[in-house]
């Protein structure tokens, strides 16, 4: 193993992204003896403190300080990385909105292989790297073999690599800024528009009736609402329901929506894409209802019902209403 391993770490307000520990763990999978190098780009005091915070977990932290990088622009970061990455490097990047922006183009510019959204690393044998990916929204997985003789960029699925307990190291910050030179991009950041709050705050609900594509049409949202009303719960949803404009964006659970932490989560007609599951925290009890018995949601749910939600939910609602009327 001669290829040097790097981890590109996003940071915000002086704090390194949680991905740092996951990327370090993935680097150890590639090479147990590896001492991966972190790379951070940015500007000012925020960059300094993020770099120093990583010295406890990386032997070397490469710093790229540039005024143009005060806001993380993938095209500029790419241009900087092209200048400083040694030939044949392996670069690990989180597969998030920044990684998706950066990685494919970077792999072209440094003429290395690219594997996207890696969920596991099996083995590195010489220049042949074996990893696991998923296809069809997680319904099937694939073993992928990659020729890394001219290096590789790997984007890693957030949450797929468990951070390892490791002995603390005393890393050093290496300033690479002067190697970068001037930076200009064809895309310029203007502002961030914060998502609007909705009528119901799904992040504070102990019970969520959550609907996905399986709800089939807008009128059927009422079926979920009736169940939620009977339970004293709220209705949330997955991305396709928002894309179809059946529910407001403020009801969406997932990476591009809200992070929720209910006690009970009824996933109704939701396939279970990782972007959706990433929005579920606090280990809720998940009851999944889906027509497709192979839906990935059944791999993570506690209890599964292979049935059509349009039949099952109304029955459930009527039984709860009946129960309540007896109780009163």
């Amino acid at each position: 193993m001669t290829a040097r391993i790097f981890a590109y770490i996003p940071h915000k307000a002086g704090v390194a992204d949680d991905a740092a520990a996951e990327l370090a763990s993935a680097a150890r999978k590639l090479d147990p003896a590896a001492s991966p190098t972190a790379i951070l780009a940015g500007w000012g005091a925020d960059l300094e403190s993020a770099c120093h915070s990583l010295c406890a977990s990386f032997g070397e932290v490469w710093k790229i300080a540039h005024e143009a990088l005060a806001y993380s622009n993938a095209e500029l970061v790419r241009k900087a990385l092209v200048k400083i990455l040694p030939h044949g490097s392996i670069l690990l990047v989180p597969h998030d909105h920044f990684g998706i922006d950066l990685s494919p183009g970077l792999s072209v510019k440094i003429n290395s292989a690219f594997i996207s959204d890696v969920v596991a690393i099996d083995a590195l044998e010489g220049n042949s790297l074996n990893v696991v990916r998923q296809e069809f929204g997680g319904q099937v997985s694939t073993h992928v073999r990659c020729d890394i003789s001219s290096g590789a960029v790997l984007s890693l699925r957030p949450g797929a690599f468990q951070p390892l307990e490791g002995a603390a190291v005393t890393g050093v910050v290496v300033d690479k800024s002067s190697d970068v030179g001037s930076l200009a991009a064809g895309r310029r950041y203007l502002e961030t528009i914060i998502a609007e709050a909705g009528d119901v705050d799904i992040t504070k609900q102990p019970v969520l009736v959550s609907i996905g594509r399986g709800v089939q049409e807008k009128d059927n949202v009422a079926i979920a609402q009736e169940l939620a009303d009977a339970l004293g719960a709220a209705v949330s949803c997955s991305r396709p329901v928002v894309d179809a404009k059946w529910m407001d964006k403020s009801r969406q659970v997932g990476t591009s929506g809200k992070t929720v932490k209910p006690k009970v989560y009824l996933a109704c007609g939701i396939s279970g894409a990782f972007q959706h599951l990433a929005g579920l925290k606090g280990n809720p009890f998940i009851i999944a209802i889906n027509k497709n018995p192979k839906a990935p949601i059944f791999q993570v749910a506690d209890v599964g019902i292979a049935d059509d939600l349009l039949e099952f939910l109304p029955l459930l609602t009527s039984k709860i209403v009946e129960l309540r009327s007896i109780a009163h």
Binding site: P104, V140, R145, R188, G232, S256, I287, V303, F312
Partner: protein, 263 residues
């Protein structure tokens, strides 16, 4: 504005259960329902809407074989002006880099101001658009969920970032954008519309027309190769309830009560 949309025909996951074939070298493709990749369909709709506002034309291109023509016709029925099939035996087995190489050669034969792709297709790679942009030295943005045409060969775009927030940027033309679902509401395409374009001749471009060196694409050039498919044995999996619908509903109520979900 001359807009190129790169589209792909894929098995429709909302219509199919995906299973492995007997040798696990592929998914079982018999009896699958295919359609245009969902993300690409939003990209075509966006292109049509931009052209309706500022003029120009929409070309939809796909890399594939004869079977893939159907999505070009579908997108033309939607309102795209041209469909192009990029097809050659030498392209078979290309990885994302190979696909981007093929598309780059096609783009350079034309004069496009804006190139759109879907964010990702069935394999979830989210990579061809970014690679194509880098090869062309065009600016790129992924996960785009709004486009506004500005004066002076620029666009104002929104990107979907974490928590439903949107990152707004200005981007110079020509550029490549990967389009996120939900950016618009793709129009319905009826059988009548499809029939109207059924006899339109779809031009086909191969490696020689595009000046593509066959060793730069296809299976032999691919650095990234799928070895096999498998269904992961993940964790313990859900306890699947059995019995009648009534019995399952009673069990769910009992569980929800136990977990404190019935107040």
């Amino acid at each position: 504005m001359e807009i190129l949309v790169c589209a792909k025909r894929v098995p429709d996951t909302s219509e199919n259960e995906i299973a492995l074939n007997s040798t696990a070298t592929d998914i079982e493709r018999d009896d699958l329902v295919y359609s245009v990749n969902e993300w690409d369909n939003y990209a075509v709709e966006e292109a049509i809407q931009i052209v309706a506002r500022v003029g120009g034309s929409v070309t939809v291109a796909t890399v594939g074989g004869e079977d893939d023509e159907e999505i070009l016709r579908r997108e033309m029925a939607m309102g795209a002006n041209h469909g192009v099939l990029i097809s050659d035996d030498a392209f078979a087995g290309s990885d994302a880099r190979g696909l981007a190489t093929i598309l780059k050669a096609f783009v350079q034969k034309g004069n496009y101001d804006l190139i759109l792709t879907g964010v990702q297709a069935e394999a979830g790679g989210a990579q061809v658009g970014g690679m194509l942009a880098a090869m062309l030295d065009y600016p790129f943005a992924s996960l785009v969920n709004s486009i506004e045409v500005l004066e002076g060969r620029k666009l104002k775009i929104g990107r979907e970032i974490e928590g439903g927030n949107r990152e707004m940027s200005e981007i110079d033309l020509p550029c490549v954008l990967s389009i996120q679902t939900g950016i618009n509401e793709p129009r319905y395409v009826g059988m009548r519309g499809i029939r109207q374009v059924a006899s339109v001749k779809i031009p086909v471009f191969g490696a020689s027309e595009l000046g593509i060196d066959a060793v730069a694409v296809g299976e032999r050039a691919a650095k990234v190769k799928r070895v096999d498919y498998f269904v992961p044995a993940l964790g313990k999996g859900a306890e699947m309830l059995q019995g009648s619908r009534e019995e399952m509903a009673d069990k769910v109520i009992e569980l929800v009560k136990t977990k404190g979900g019935l107040r």
